[in-house]
Amino acid sequence: MNPKLHEQHEQFRVRKKHEKIYVFMTQVAILAAFISLWEIASRLNWIDPLIFSSPSSVWNLLVSMIADSSLYVHIGVTLVETIFGFLIGTLGGIAIAAFLWWSPFLSRVLDPYIVVLNATPKVALGPMLIVIFGANMTSVVAMAVLISIIVTTLVIYGAFRETDENLIKVVDTFGASKWQRFRHVIIPASYPAMVSALKVNVGLAWVGVIVGEYLVSNEGLGYLIIYGFQVFNFDMVMLSLVLVAILATIMYQAVAILEKFLMRNRH
């Protein structure tokens, strides 16, 4: 390469790198400013410290709850519920979609019911879940499943049906059975839809679990939020909120990495 071009390329790369650093630094600065402002506002009584708490008291509570290890139980419970809700919702949705694809008759019969279920706010069914599953973790997981499974079914079933007719025709001309058609064409063609359903469902599972814990539970981060609210301990509410935000982000990023891994062979 000629030296002049080389120099320009170098400049281009440095510029890109600097841009990246500036963006990151600004992001950190915003977070730091927010936390400091929160702390100052709380100390100077610009906001009511009893209601809005403050970063230092949230931090102190975090340290003490780690010290008496009560926090781990709550985090653990919520994580387990979310992961189960997420997995059952996603896999269950795919299974139901497969079932509907398998039987066009049933899919036509069930269509209005699925539309109604999809339109109904699933949270409204909370009391029913508690009656059915009892006031325990199962109800919370069921809430997470309920919120994600219907939408997953609809999206995946839609992807199954939108599979290119001609690709199906290719295997049909070789005399493919229904199972072969499903396994060799429908599933791989809908693979991207399934992978993106994972990402949507992580978010939905968190909604379901937190709402579920609001309704019924004596453990978990959602429980801590409601409990803190009831006993007017807003340090606890804030701490739980921050933890939910961090954990949900980590899980979402983990699924995003998984998505990249699963899609590595697709263009």
Partner: protein, 258 residues
């Protein structure tokens, strides 16, 4: 001996309001090793005929016999090549070919070796590990031909397989397919709207009428065109005469609708 026989075949399609007569009384014999083309005005039901022969849809009346046995469902004896390659984009070239063997449950080492040999004849031996997106349109259609031939069909149905290709690629592929089929003594039925393609490739051309499709005329190609490869046939002095003749017939048909 006739490999494929159509006897008074008819096809009706049903919709809520009415019954559409698509194919009316088609009788046709295709001998083993013969290359026959079907041409006709667009929408006249050419593809429907192929689909019926392939066993993908049922005919309403008449008989379709392959080696004197009625065709009721799809069979590995009949290969079908579509207008585009329709390779599975998520599989490599090799896997795309293997899928034919997998579905017909004939995935043996021997058959796999046979398909790789075919791939080699198509000049694509080194692309086995590539994804379809890395190949050109002509290459992909050649892979599709290998996939169709993998199940060792005795009859090949070609549904405008060159229509999505640019002109030069199309001419080259015509030659390659013609040569491959003749060498393997395969029987072929080509559907096309391209008169030159039909003349260049076929032993016999069947002209269909407008819907409901009937056989309007049959043209038997002279030896000097039959014996030559498609590209060479296009250079023959008589080629133009045939083109004019068929063009006129087809034009008469098209003016019937207008």
């Amino acid at each position: 001996m006739a490999l494929l026989t159509l006897r008074e075949v008819e096809k009706h399609f049903f919709s809520q309001e009415n019954v559409i007569e698509a194919i009316r009384n088609i009788s046709l014999d295709i001998d083993s090793g013969e290359f026959v083309s079907i041409i006709g005005p667009s929408g006249c039901g050419k593809t429907t005929i192929l689909s019926m022969i392939a066993g993908l849809i049922k005919h309403s009346a008449g008989e379709i016999l392959l080696q004197d046995a009625p065709i009721t469902t799809t069979s590995t004896d009949i290969g079908y090549m579509l207008q585009q390659d329709y390779l599975f984009p998520w599989l490599t070239i090799g896997e795309n070919i293997d899928i034919a063997l997998e579905i017909t449950k004939t995935k043996t080492r021997q058959n796999q070796a046979y398909t790789r040999e075919l791939l080699d004849q198509m000049g694509l031996a080194d692309r086995e590990k590539d994804m379809p997106s890395e190949l050109s349109g002509g290459m992909k259609q050649r892979v599709a031909l290998v996939r169709t031939l993998a199940a060792k069909p005795s009859l090949l149905l070609l549904d405008e397989p060159f229509s999505a290709l640019d002109f030069q690629t199309k001419l080259r592929l015509e030659d390659l397919i013609h040569e491959t089929l003749k060498e393997k003594r395969k029987t072929a039925l080509l559907v096309t709207h391209d008169i030159s393609e039909a003349i260049a490739m076929s032993d016999r051309i069947v002209l269909l009428s407008n819907r409901p499709a009937e056989i309007k005329r049959t043209f038997i190609m002279p030896e000097e065109l039959k014996a030559k490869s498609p590209l060479a046939a296009r250079q023959q002095p008589t080629f133009q005469d045939w083109f004019q003749l068929i063009w006129k017939e087809l034009e008469n048909l098209e003016s019937e609708i207008a």
